[in-house]
């Protein structure tokens, strides 16, 4: 088990390195030149050169990269080219809110999706199962931004049960914080819940048809025990990998949903940095999020190893 953990951990480092390098190269290839953006089109060549020098943009690329890497490992992600504010704290605020949204969405999705999937599998072939499949198909097709808009219109604007815009940090008022999360979480969770329900159902159906479940029935084990102890655990294996991917999807979707509820988080930050060519912010954001996604993958692998002993043995 320890070996699994260590080997996975060791494989994360080179990927992160590659991600940083990849993003670095990407940002340096941007179509927009930040110097031009900041100084305006009227600036002279000399001014631009001087400003570029001040920002350290005229050093060789290799040096720029390793300088960034060194700083990043110490927690310093540079400063925004536009606001000159340090990137790391700005990101920290934004990322934590985005993550909160994504996690809330994931939790809700699990709460809805897993029981639905089990329920559909146990009633495989009945009208209830077919109804579930139809609902799941619908859930997969609805854009989360649309859902967010409709929810906001209905419950926040019309019924005024929730605040329409803004975000209350947990430290300030936990209850309001929770209330502010409800609508975005619902909007985010529907798609993921559908994916999870579908995967869980399909995995459970396979398991319930497997020879060892037949063997357990032949031993006279009650159906309830077969499902709760044997079927679910065996079916979780493919569901876990789906969860990891969905975490990544949720983070992406939160970026857009934040806009609708005017939650100040990564969304605006990222879009602006892309438009303006604000390298440090973009680079920092991508690397931080990639780290989180890799951490989630690592956790999934560990979880996978906990459930499936064959993986541990390798």
């Amino acid at each position: 088990m320890r070996q699994l953990f260590l080997s996975r951990l060791l494989s994360v480092a080179p990927i992160l390195f590659a991600v940083s390098l990849f993003t670095f190269l990407l940002t340096r290839m941007t179509a927009t030149d930040p110097v031009v953006q900041i100084l305006g089109p009227g600036a002279s060549a000399a001014d631009r050169a001087e400003y570029a020098h001040k920002l350290g943009l005229d050093r060789p690329l290799v040096e720029q990269f390793f300088r960034w890497l060194g700083d990043a490992l110490r927690g310093d992600l540079g400063s925004s080219l536009y606001t000159a504010l340090p990137v790391a704290p700005t990101l920290a605020d934004g990322v934590s809110v985005t993550l909160t949204l994504a996690i809330a969405g994931m939790l809700l999705a699990l709460l809805i999706g897993i029981p639905l999937g089990i329920w559909g599998a146990v009633r495989h072939g009945s009208w209830a199962d077919r109804l579930l499949s139809t609902i799941v198909s619908l859930g997969l097709a609805v854009p989360s931004i649309w859902l967010a808009l409709l929810l906001s219109l209905a419950f926040a604007v019309e019924l005024q049960w929730f605040q329409v815009v803004g975000y209350t940090p947990f430290a300030q008022d936990p209850l309001e914080w929770a209330r502010g999360l409800v609508l975005p979480a619902i909007a985010l969770s529907v798609h993921t819940a559908s994916v999870i329900a579908r995967q869980m159902r399909s995995a459970m159906i396979d398991v319930l048809r497997s020879p060892y479940v037949h063997a357990l029935r032949a031993r006279g084990l009650p159906q309830r025990l077969i499902i709760s102890r044997y079927a679910i655990r065996n079916a979780m294996v493919p569901v876990l990998s789906v969860m990891a991917i969905q975490m990544s999807v949720l983070v992406g979707a939160s970026i857009a949903v934040e806009r609708i509820f005017a939650i100040p988080a990564l969304g605006t930050l990222l879009v602006d940095s892309v438009v303006r060519g604000d390298f440090p912010v973009l680079q920092g954001a991508v690397v931080v999020i990639a780290t989180i996604v890799l951490a989630v993958n690592l956790a999934t692998d560990i979880g996978y190893g906990l459930i499936n002993p064959k993986v541990r043995a390798n």
């Binding site: 179509a31 931004i145 037949h214 002993p309």
Partner: protein, 652 residues
């Protein structure tokens, strides 16, 4: 060999090839509602996209401020947006962007991903490693984020946005293609192609690629939907479509800005996106059902069953059964829905098993022997049911018992051992957990007592170091040991009857011998009765006291092992014995012409007659009854005519 709980596949063996199913044309898919509706909707979207300039009632670009934010009405059927532009027209023009975006990105993804995946999977080496590292990197960044970053490089605009999305899709197509190629590369037919000397490129294109297309098509259709959702999100964020194009996503952004003034704005574009994505997904599902896996196993329709297959067998004479009979089957019949009609899988099966006796139920695949075991336990697969007859265990009638009562009998009075030990054990639970659950399902023991009993059981079946082994998982046991564990599970509650379904087929020769010895030993010590189901007459000769031979869902001969194997009375039994190599260098083994008929085409009259060397006209006329332990109208004749098969060898 037969799978425990499945119905016979419709294509297993056509007796005469007229009974073969025609190959299904792919266009028949469209007749199903879940394919027809989405396909029609997508056609509608396509029509809108192509014919937008002619279909749309108003110009989607020219502002008309006077009419801004109107509700749906006579002139503007779906209302107007903040610049007074007609929503319906914008909706129709938006179809263009939607389809363009989806197909462009999926097209790029397929082109890049599949070619790279083929190379990486087949060639391997450094190319594969580099490709996988790149894939890891790109997949560790959420798609929307990566798209934003790529748009930062390439610049804003729909084309670039979809290029970015296309590259992201390329990664998942790469993974799928590579995975399929790797799996197919291990298949024996690829080895055979290599042995034939076919060139690697030829193998890749002709052998492997066609097998990749199925999963790819399914994934592509789902990606179309995903592409649309991502495009909507990017346009919503303002980095996708610009003002010269109409995108449903940017219409949602407009709706957001003006939601307080005109709350109806988001309804229409959102609905359009949802329905289009739903159509892509449903179409993808239909394709998945049709294309995966392996084609024709899905097509279970259109089999014309010959009339009168159902009630064929004549009433068998009911032989009196001995007093100490434990298990008695009388005229047991099982029917199943196969193809478009019904087939009789078991026809009037009668047999009896005495206490302490080992009865071998012998037959080839498709004869129904495993189905018999399932019928006894009441665990028939879906679609099959008992159509008549009785199963008595001791004094209890099992047919018709409610499920809960049957559950108490399973495991408690009847234990079952299966063919593949590793398939009979849950891979993610320890042996200890599984044995304890079995023990506690039928008794009131607590956990500690159940564990102690589990140790006892493992010791009984000869597993060394049982206490420690309880914590091991199934994959840590070798084949023979795993089978012992399965046997331990079957014996957990000291059943009266043990049913062993091909218990040694999956094991090595010397290990098989050990397990058979174990069964013989247990039978002696515990005085258990055993119903041993097998295709191997050698197993019967080794372990069984009596034997019942099955063919085409019927018992054709019963008797003691000594008599039946030295002087078989039914032609099928005789033919089976003749077909087995005796370890002499005979020039030819005698064979049985033809093949086992499938369940939905049992021959009329004696079911074996088309393949029987001794058949006469009378054999085809009516069903033959089981008389005096043999189902053949010429049994007496043949016995007198035949010299007992002299198969006795002088051992060295």
């Amino acid at each position: 060999m037969s799978d425990v709980a499945t119905l016979p596949p419709v294509h297993s063996a056509a007796p005469d090839d007229n009974a073969r199913l025609p190959r299904k044309s792919p266009w028949r898919l469209l007749s199903r509602p879940f394919a027809l509706l989405p396909a029609s909707f997508l056609l509608l979207v396509l029509v809108c996209a192509v014919g937008a300039p002619w279909i749309a009632p108003h110009d989607p670009f020219t502002p008309a401020i006077r009419h801004r934010l109107e509700a749906p009405g006579a002139t503007y059927w779906l209302g107007t947006d903040d610049l007074g532009r007609d929503m319906l027209s914008r909706l129709i023009f938006g179809a263009r962007t939607a389809l363009l975006a989806s197909f462009e990105s999926v097209g790029i993804g397929l082109a890049a991903g599949v070619s790279l995946g083929l190379l990486a999977g087949y060639v391997g080496g450094w190319l594969d490693r580099v490709a996988m590292r790149l894939a890891d990197v790109m997949q560790s960044i959420p798609a929307v984020l990566l798209a934003l970053a790529l748009i930062g490089v390439l610049g804003k605009g729909l084309g670039n946005a979809m290029l970015a999305v296309g590259l992201i899709f390329a990664v998942s197509f790469l993974r799928i293609t590579r995975a399929v190629v790797l799996a197919e590369r291990e298949q024996l037919y690829v080895d055979a192609a290599r042995v034939l000397g076919l060139r690697p490129a030829a193998i890749m294109l002709r052998q492997i690629l066609p097998n990749v297309s199925g999963p790819l098509i399914v994934q592509a259709s789902i990606s179309l939907g995903t592409a649309l959702l991502i495009e909507a999100m990017l346009s919503f964020l303002g980095v996708g479509a610009d003002s010269t194009q109409v995108s449903w996503g940017s219409m949602l952004e407009t709706a957001r800005q003006f939601q307080s003034e005109q709350p109806l704005l988001p309804v229409v574009p959102g609905l359009a996106i949802t329905l289009t994505v739903l159509s892509f997904n449903l179409l993808g599902d239909t394709l998945r059902d049709a294309l995966l896996p392996g084609g024709a196993s899905q097509t279970r329709t259109a089999v014309r069953l010959p009339a009168g297959t159902a009630a064929t067998a004549a009433a068998d004479a009911d032989a009196p059964t001995p007093a100490d009979t434990l298990l008695e089957l009388r005229q047991l019949s099982v029917r199943a829905a196969v193809g478009g009609g019904e087939a009789e899988l078991l026809s009037q099966v009668s047999l009896h098993l005495r206490r302490g006796e080992v009865l071998g139920l012998v037959g080839e695949s498709g004869c129904g022997k495993s189905m018999t075991a399932n019928a006894i336990l009441g665990l028939l697969p879906r679609g099959a049911q008992i159509a008549g007859g009785s199963v008595r265990l001791g004094g209890t009638e099992l047919v018709g018992l409610p499920e809960e009562a049957l559950r108490h009998i399973r495991g408690r009075r009847i234990g079952m051992v299966f063919q593949d030990p590793n398939a009979a054990l849950s891979p993610v639970h320890t042996i200890g957990t599984q044995l304890c659950d079995i023990v506690r399902a039928h008794s009131k023991l607590n956990h500690a007592q159940a564990l102690a009993r589990a140790v006892e059981l493992l010791d009984l079946v000869g597993v060394p170091d049982p206490a420690r082994r309880l914590q091991d998982y199934p994959h840590q046991f070798s084949g023979g040991m795993a089978q012992r564990v399965v046997i331990a599970g079957a014996l957990a509650c000291e059943p009266e009857l043990l049913i062993a379904d091909e218990p040694t087929t999956a094991l090595d020769v010397t290990i098989q011998a050990q397990v058979l010895d174990l069964l013989a030993d247990l039978r002696q010590r515990l005085g258990m009765s055993v119903l041993l189901i097998t295709h191997d007459l050698g197993v019967v000769a080794d372990l069984c006291d009596r034997v019942a031979v099955m063919y085409a869902g019927q018992i054709v001969e019963t008797g003691s092992v000594q008599e039946t194997l030295t002087a078989p009375r039914h032609p099928y039994t005789a033919a089976l014995l003749d077909a087995m190599p005796r370890g002499r260098a005979d020039a030819r083994l005698s064979t049985i012409a033809g093949r086992v008929p499938p369940a939905w085409a049992w021959p009329h009259g004696c079911r074996f007659h088309p393949r029987c060397a001794h058949a006469v006209a009378a054999c085809a006329q009516q069903p033959v009854a089981l008389e005096d332990g043999v189902r053949c109208i010429r049994a007496d004749e043949l016995r007198n005519a035949r010299t007992p098969i002299d198969i006795r060898e002088v051992a060295a």
